[in-house]
């Protein structure tokens, strides 16, 4: 191999060494960065955690790029995901992958930016990139044993250590400077169809992770792991055990210990209240409720958890007794606002079930429920606690039940954005329909227990929701193709520069006017953005970074 070492490779190696030493120098600053994360304002010269800060707002105070000059926003660099093995640091428990095997992964993660280095991940891969140039510093390649490679949301960083999860359920720590593996720990069983996609969130000395997987009827849990040893500090089960609060919402211990509720997305954190907010997934069996009568707490819920102890402070269930795969994993966004003239600490969620929820984040008290999409037909009533109550007639049936939205939901995991300057929460939505056929009529059905056939879509839109009322202030339709409406859920970012970044469902990355939804700038990437856009200042220059397909793009003002 050495014989064929090219000039490029040699340069790459030399460059890697040089950059590594500058990154090492920068590591001492990481703790300062970590402290800034929990502050009220997002850091501007780093993006050190999944949402940029722990509020889930994805709002940046940067305004170098603004509505006045956005027309001059231009490409700074492109990085195409390199999944080659030749220069990779190899890890993992699986067999050697065949060269060139598999489809290239797409970017669904939000890369971290710490001291000029971007840490990007996809299933089985982590890359360190020079944020100034988009060039690769190192590439870590995890040899997988299998599992659902549906996506990876990102890495977490604590001091000089990176953390990420693999589809075959390993919790892996890497040296951020070198990319060398420190250790890996198995967190769940692949044979029970668990898989892992979550981006670890670091709060103090807690590395918080959650598992995914609802193909079989297994219980969901959230864990805190020790950043040094990787061992479990606490585990919070999203379904109760016998005798615990919430157990009364299940028929028996058997049903709740097979009840799902995967906390599969990163949560948010209020440092003043010391509460971590996370959304839980759907109950199991997924589309059939006959073996789990009751509300099925704490599935489809927003829960507030003390990150030091793992104890739940409060919970709010967005969909009691879900039978449509709604879950409530979508970002619980922290908003400090004013309701009825009174300052309130709030939490907002644009839920997959088609409804917007606003709660008090101190107590979990419900404040607002509003319908985000017209087509949602699965619930007829909203109860006193603001919970939409599923219409039994709209559950999966043997001859088929026409339901909207389909199991993908009105929206899904891509991160929303809240702009405190406009008071609007932005979310991409879709109004799909599908027919749900109950296939497992056993009194104890298994897995999904029903089949789904998609039957159309009556509209996709980017929506701006008034956080206080849930009212849709504007709705901008997305793209169309020969088969009708396209696009929907999308990653979003808003800035103090009067810009809202997202996609149009038609392969364009767009800067919208956050007050009206009017497009101000776009880049034709040819494929829809697949992650949440991010922004930071580097050497005094503001960058906008977004992933689309198997590439990461950086934009900055023309110099």
């Amino acid at each position: 191999m050495m014989i064929h070492t090219t000039n490029d490779q040699r340069q790459g190696r030399a460059g890697r060494k040089k950059r590594s030493s500058s990154a090492l120098f920068a590591v001492s600053a990481l703790i300062v960065v970590a402290a800034a994360v929990v502050g009220a304002q997002a850091p501007t010269e780093s993006w050190p955690t999944y949402h940029g800060d722990l509020s889930g707002r994805r709002f940046s105070t940067l305004k170098q790029i603004n509505a006045g000059n956005v027309k001059s926003l231009t490409l700074a660099w492109v990085y195409r995901l390199n999944t080659g093995q030749s220069n990779a640091i190899m890890g993992g428990e699986g067999p050697d992958p065949k060269p060139g095997a598999g489809t290239p992964p797409s970017v669904k993660s939000t890369p971290l930016l710490v001291n000029g280095v971007l840490y990007l991940s996809a299933p089985d891969h982590v890359w360190a990139l020079d944020a100034r140039t988009g060039r690769e510093i190192w590439h870590y390649f995890w040899k997988t044993r299998g599992g659902d490679h549906i996506g990876n949301r990102g890495v977490g960083i604590y001091e000089k250590w990176l953390y990420f999860l693999t589809p075959d359920n390993y919790f892996v720590s890497l040296d951020a400077v070198t990319g060398k593996e420190r250790w890996h720990k198995e967190i769940a069983s692949m044979k029970r169809e668990y898989f892992s996609t979550n981006a670890p969130i670091i709060i103090g000395k807690q590395v918080i992770i959650g598992v995914s997987g609802d193909a079989l009827d297994v219980p969901g849990y959230l864990e805190s792991r020790d950043p040094e040893s990787g061992d479990v500090v606490w585990r919070w089960n999203s379904t109760p055990r016998q005798g615990e609060p919430g157990a009364e919402t299940w028929p028996d211990e058997y049903a709740m210990s097979h009840g799902g509720g995967m906390p599969w997305l990163p949560g948010t954190y209020d440092p003043d209240l010391s509460l971590y907010y996370v959304g839980t997934g759907n109950p199991n069996p997924v589309l059939a409720g006959q073996s789990r009568e009751g509300d099925n707490l704490w599935t489809c819920s927003i829960v507030a958890i003390n990150p030091t102890t793992g104890k739940m402070a409060w919970g709010y269930q967005a969909t009691p007794h879900d039978t449509h795969d709604w879950d409530a994993a979508q970002t619980p966004v922290l908003i400090d606002g004013v309701i009825d003239g009174r300052p309130r600490k709030l939490i907002a969620q644009a839920n997959r079930n088609g409804y917007y929820f606003l709660l008090d984040r101190i107590t979990g008290e419900h404040l607002v429920t509003s319908k985000m999409i017209e087509s949602a037909n699965w619930a007829k009533t909203i109860n006193a606690k603001g919970q939409p109550i599923g219409d039994p007639a709209k559950e999966a049936s043997v001859p088929g039940t026409l339901v909207s939205p389909n199991t993908g939901g009105a929206t899904n995991w891509p991160p929303v954005s809240f702009n405190p300057d406009t008071g609007l929460l932005y979310v991409g939505t879709t109004q799909t329909f599908s027919i749900l056929y109950l296939t497992d009529t056993d009194k104890r059905p298994q897995g999904w227990a029903a089949a789904e056939r998609n039957v159309g879509n009556i509209g996709t839109a980017l929506k701006a929701i008034d956080y206080r009322t849930g009212q849709v202030k504007w709705s901008h339709p997305l793209a169309m193709t020969a088969t009708g409406f396209t696009g929907g859920a999308m990653g979003l970012l808003s800035t103090a520069g009067g810009l809202l970044f997202g996609n149009d469902g038609g392969g364009n990355f767009v800067a919208y006017d956050p007050l009206t939804g009017k497009p101000l700038w776009h880049a034709g990437l040819g494929v829809n953005t697949g992650n949440g856009p991010e922004t930071f200042l580097l050497d005094g220059r503001q960058y906008i970074v977004v992933g689309a397909g198997d590439a990461l793009y950086a934009f900055a003002l023309q110099q």
């Binding site: 994993a329 043997v398 939901g409 995991w413 056993d442 104890r444 089949a451 038609g506 364009n508 497009p519």
Partner: protein
């Protein structure tokens, strides 16, 4: 009539809900034994076309004969307590959800457990041969695989509707008869499609994402009419319509044409031949849908 072909969702996949391939033909026709070879075929087909379909950690059983032997063995030896389908019975738990079974490798752990039993909890020891152990494990793992793979779920008999009521709805409130006729385009339609396909298409007839057949060539493709800056208009199936671009397929020229857009210039008017079906989506009751399905299924 085009031969029904697999419809594969190529669209972006959401995290939890990998949208599954549209069912290419009725699984009802498949006996359990053939289901496994279908599973293998399906898994293979998904890899070949490179869709972003959900991946499973579990793999399809390869030895279908062993699965069958295991099925019989289970009913005979274990069924009394654990139910003939292994999902739990009078005194024994659901074996397909038992951690020991799920974690088992080819009958090894299961075999060790069965040889010892758990007498304190009323589970006797079983003296089975190594082949019997692995057959039993093959069946249980096959059951778990099928439960975990929703693409392989078998849709049951959906013909529960009242054909007479369906006919009335077809000619009345549903306004189906304004475009379709049982003696015209729907002649013999009940013989052309299985009921699940029929019901899916009567609600939403659009076929998209068919390999080798661009969606814009489908007669039901959404159309756009573009007001040309030079005057006049041009109409074609939408390839892409965004705030910044409109691309259509000009059937007469046999090629695509595109225009950049700035705001509403050029002005684009959208016409969906299936608009009535989209409007109907919010009007259907499930009973009306089942009745019309029953009516159309009878048009043979």
């Amino acid at each position: 009539m085009r031969r029904p072909r697999p419809r594969l969702q190529i669209a972006t996949k959401t995290a939890k809900s990998a949208k599954h391939a549209e069912k290419p033909f009725s699984l009802r026709a498949l006996r359990p034994r053939r289901l496994f070879s279908f599973a293998l075929f399906a898994a293979f087909a998904l890899i070949v076309v490179g869709t972003s379909a959900q991946q499973q950690a579990l793999t399809a059983p390869t030895d279908t004969a062993a699965v069958e032997r295991g099925r019989q063995l289970l009913a005979q030896e274990c069924g009394f307590c654990h139910g003939s389908n292994a999902r739990g019975g009078s005194s024994g738990p659901d074996l397909t959800r038992a951690t020991l079974v799920m974690e088992d490798e080819n009958g090894r752990q299961l075999g060790e457990f069965l040889r010892a039993g758990r007498p304190d909890r009323g589970m006797p020891a079983f003296d089975l041969s190594a082949t019997q152990m692995s057959d039993l494990a093959a069946f249980l793992h096959a059951e778990i695989y099928l439960a975990s793979n929703r693409r392989l779920y078998k849709i049951l008999d959906i013909l529960v509707g009242d054909p007479k009521a369906g006919q009335a709805y077809f000619n009345g409130a549903g306004r189906c008869a304004s475009c379709h006729s049982p003696s015209g385009d729907f002649k013999g339609i009940g013989a052309k499609h299985d009921p699940v396909t029929l019901q899916g298409r009567l609600v939403y007839p659009r076929r998209g994402g068919i390999p080798g057949s661009p969606a814009y060539e489908d007669r039901n493709a959404v159309k756009a009419t573009i007001a040309l800056p030079s005057g006049g208009t041009v109409t074609g199936a939408i390839v892409r319509l965004t705030d910044f671009e409109v691309t259509i397929y000009d059937a007469a020229a046999g090629q695509q044409r595109s225009w950049l857009r700035n705001g509403d210039v050029p002005n684009v008017t959208v016409n969906d031949p299936l608009q009535a079906h989209l409007d109907q989506l919010t009007k259907w009751t499930d009973a009306d849908m089942h009745n019309v399905t029953a009516y159309l299924a009878g048009l043979k």
